[in-house]
Symmetry: D2
Subunit: 379 residues, 4 copies
């Protein structure tokens, strides 16, 4: 799968970021031009890149060489502490490098899961320190959606959206700006495997009326009939799901995971609902955070952040007044603002501190190796 | 080109619409099931379709048979006048059928232009009755952008966006709803061929920094170095452009046409501007229509509608509260609301009456056979 | 289908051949460089070509213009009779031009059949003057293969293979050379639709053991389960076959047609036989022609030439001593001598005079729009 | 590259062969069904296979597990020595397993070379025990072709071709049969890098007249302008070639390596020669082996076997009377007998004992990761 990179590539690339954007300006670059080229992901401004799809072929440099590279860069960064802190620019880049590495901590787990989860032996990897399965605890016993009363209602209002950058945020989370948000409702729980099974049993994958036109072609062409890591021996067998803890019977109460935008949208249509906008989710996360009074008493959103990346119907666009920084790091987010959709809320694979209400994750509509699910919205 | 259909297919398909959605309910369907299948475009709900890419192979039915079909359906529609008017539903479908045929009048011209414009003989077709070249008259003499003073400024405000359906509009133009629009500026003229030549001469197609990541791959893969219908004998020759009037030296003062979203975005970046949102253009069209006082005196938008479909940075999404009609016609617009971008303003290929401020045209980012151009925006 | 060209293209291309290879050297070329480029098929030496796959888009020049081109070239050829006959080279090219046009008479019928036969309306074209269905007369009543006695046996011998060019032959039919041919047996009849149905009913398309590895991938990828022009309403319906006379119930006694090399090979394996070599068929045609005594009494090959192009296991290679003529016409055959297989015997779509024992037709293994079938061989 | 498998896959697959075809019949199979499925290459008859292109993703089982598998199978094979020798069938399969492993010893080196040779770091692997570079010794000092006198001439004769199976040979090397071979000439040396450079400098890759039609498309589509492992900094820089000993300046006197059939054929055409047939090479190897008197005195073929796999113009077809064994092992060779070409003579990557005059290697025309070169022939 072209999106998947080998673990050792992630290890080298995250260190390469510090090497190029901090040590290089300090005249302390460690990597050779060639080495550097291998581990550049998409920064055209810093030289040509090794084709992404070919990363899997890089049997060299060996893992030891990459750990050695990491150690040398780490040492030089520590030695350079004063120089870095004495420069706001280098400090900004240092913080960015750490956030960048946290992103790759999740990408690594996604990639490892894909490599192991498509291996017929379904080898166990083991949940990350912060636990892949922790959502089960807080998930409702049946996973079944109950009556409309349970929907949480939000009244229309004008709201400040995005980050004011008082604490760290990526450039794409700002500028903070005013947005009018019409009233809407959200379902308190994420869609569960049990809910999703109902969709499948009801012929959801065979009913073109539920699908976006492009989604219907995608389903047909790729013969999709379940989320990415579900499999069963035969049509009447029980569903199994691969998790980093290995293959196991489908956990009905867990939120559904690893579905494309097309599947999320088709499920929502089937359920008589729709996907929320990125602003509706950001607003809900905020008001729930402050235990906002205007949220109707009795219901509060559960499974907000740290469970599944929640697909939104919002195309990934720049906020009003957004400017990409002119340097190479400026390629960081702005250049991807087309044909991708925003996901909110982070997942059980996300490092816990790497989550906030203004965070905007983004992927193309067919992406399924992301740990993505959905929450239903209604007008 | 898979997007292109033969003229006779358009002739049959637009009539098929009346046959299936009006005559059929009246028990007067003309087309056989097979015939009907051939000329169904994407209405899954009314039976399987003939693959779009294979339409070009339909040497039968012959053109005469299709004209015969059109005549028979037209006669039956006229005969059915009372029945149709006595039903609001049929009246709605009748009006929709006419609007649908107007859309195909433009599609037919787009397709004819593509077939002739990619034929090395560059045969002349002749401009449509309403004239492909009429924009030249009102275009500025040089086409050069002049100083910043010329930009037209719009202050932030809350605005009713979309149609209230008092006059005809497609379902995707509503519901009308309130939207907060931050202040912005628009350039009064569309980007001209002369402007676009400057972009090319400045190495625009070779400078990755100007392009969205996906756009850069698209340019490289397809070896794009100019708008669709531009050609020149050799690198030092003058540019020629194919129009329905045949091949001719590039008209520098005419608005640039037939560029992808990627090219429009790259040009805007190069020009230190951005693409407008669909709301900014709708708002500008409205206020200019009423000669809105808040528009700073001296400048008014020129080349508003009827010149080039203007790419916007707005992904094609449902408006708040949008509901697709449950019947087959409901497939009309809703199912395409993903991975496409909104274009506003209509083109010289658009039937004049088929244009309004709320109109939302939409195409994927790589579409170039549409007569699309762009207008620059700034914060 | 990229292999298929529009009829008018064939009409212009066959005339273009005379224009370029005879009139041009005489200083009488009719076609403009551009016109000429459009109708050049694969002669790189005479300038670049219009992409084959795009021929279908050539709505211009119009049919009338092409007939006009044909008439003007014909007239000039007639006027040039003396000059042509006074040059052995021009005479050779003139004869080649006629043979080339005969080839395209069959290609035209193949292409028309593909266009009409893949049109859901299955329009009737009408058999060529020399009759598509004439084989039925001479085909055996049941089409069933009878007992082994019926096989015709040929003893090993050294034979002169290929043409001595006393009468016209393409360059690839020579040089005539000696070849040792081990003993072999041929089945007197071509494989019939009835025989082929047995193969299908026996699960031939689902049994990987019968297929070449590449053939098995081809069947799976393209979901092939019958010859090209066979269709049936549902799994239990009777098979229909499209012929130029329209769609009709499968004629069990007719030889099977429009199958790939892979299908021919799999059928032969299933039948406990193999495909013949091109030399075995050439030898059989020769000895049957002379009513050769060594053929065991009682059986003679039926359906030899003029029924179906018969796949052979012989890859299309140059004969020992073959030299492509150095000029543009030299591209005629030699450059295709790779990854194609020889077919012998001509078909009911072949102009009758365009058939001889030494004739070597050739197509890639997946080609099915050729009117090809097979005859079984054994050691 | 889909043809390339990871080293550990080869290690497991060659052992899997012994496990399935010898231990399993003895009731001693080691591998689990799943494990077995992973390491089945193309034996449809023994269950479904893991997709070839996805082998690279198999991060599990780990290398240690595979070595463990090899040890357990080796031990069981040794324990079973008597049972194996007491069965001619098992003895045949045992010998086949060893030959099969020798084939994979070369495939492993080919794959390793491709993985390292396409890595921008060009890591050194080190020549195999039997030496990748040993040909240089015996290669002529200049590599230039000298005058025609040097060609070795062979008179026409009838010859026994193929193996009589007195010593081991693969099924595709028989049955031994009589073949008439017209007279021909062979160039004593393989084509050298120096010769091939002349072809490049003479514009060989830009001259369509030299190429087979399919080859010309292949060159254009893949932008090929040199053998697989050649690279240079810029158009005026010296050529480098990657060998298992790392990247080094091109050795002019070494035989050219890693070229497709298309390139070999185009070179031969450029040199006014042709590719030999498989029979011509087998005959030459035989007669030179016996120092055959009829070879004209003074010249003998050099660089016969063990240097480069030599492309022949012979399509890979069954010999007269060839029968694939009915069991799973029968899939070994027969099913590949289409659209591939025979290579003779073995290479410096071939285990020395795995080479003989009757050996028939085969690959598709585009294969370049094979260590293939060519020897010129003439009539």
């Amino acid at each position: 799968m072209d999106d998947v990179s080998p673990t050792k590539w992630h290890l080298a690339h995250t260190t390469w970021f510090f090497d190029i954007f901090i040590l290089k300006p300090l005249g302390k670059q460690v990597a050779s031009p060639l080495f550097s080229r291998l581990f550049n992901s998409y920064y055209n401004a810093v030289g040509s890149q090794h084709p992404r799809g070919k990363r899997g072929f890089l049997s060299r440099p060996r893992l030891e060489e990459i750990y050695d590279y990491r150690n040398r860069v780490d040492d030089l960064i520590l030695e350079s502490e004063i120089e870095i802190h004495s420069s706001t620019e280098l400090t900004r880049l240092f913080e960015l490098g750490i956030q960048h590495e946290e992103q790759h901590q999740e990408l690594m787990l996604m990639d490892i899961k894909h490599v192991l989860g498509t291996n017929p032996l379904y080898p166990r990897y083991g949940a990350p320190p912060w636990g892949e399965q922790k959502e089960d605890a807080s998930s409702n016993p049946t996973g079944k959606q109950s009556n409309q009363e349970k929907w949480q209602r939000f009244d229309e209002l004008n709201l400040q959206i995005g980050s004011n950058f008082e604490s760290f945020a990526f450039d794409n989370e700002g500028p903070q700006h005013n947005r009018f948000i019409p009233s809407f409702k959200l379902y308190p729980m994420l869609v569960s495997n049990d809910n999703y099974l109902d969709f499948i049993r009801d012929g959801g994958y065979d009913n073109h009326r539920l699908w976006l036109s492009e989604g219907w072609s995608w389903v047909r062409l790729n013969e999709i009939d379940s989320p990415l890591y579900w499999q069963r021996e035969h049509r009447d067998a029980e569903w199994q799901e691969y998790t980093l803890n290995g293959n196991a019977p489908l956990d009905l109460s867990a939120p559904v995971a690893h579905i494309s935008y097309f599947e999320a949208d088709a499920f929502a249509t089937w359920a008589g609902a729709r996907l929320p906008s990125e602003f509706e989710l950001e607003r809900a996360f905020q008001s729930n955070a402050k235990g906002d009074s205007e949220a109707n008493p009795g219901t509060m959103l559960e499974q907000q952040q740290g469970f599944r990346w929640q697909w939104t119907q919002s195309s990934y666009q720049p906020y009003p007044g957004f400017r990409a920084t002119p340097d190479a790091v400026g390629e960081y987010n702005g250049k991807f603002m087309v044909n991708q959709y925003v996901l909110k809320g982070s997942s059980t694979l996300t490092p816990p501190q790497h989550s906030r209400a203004t965070y905007r994750n983004f992927f193309p509509t067919h992406s399924r190796w992301v740990m993505n699910g959905l929450r239903l919205a209604q007008d």
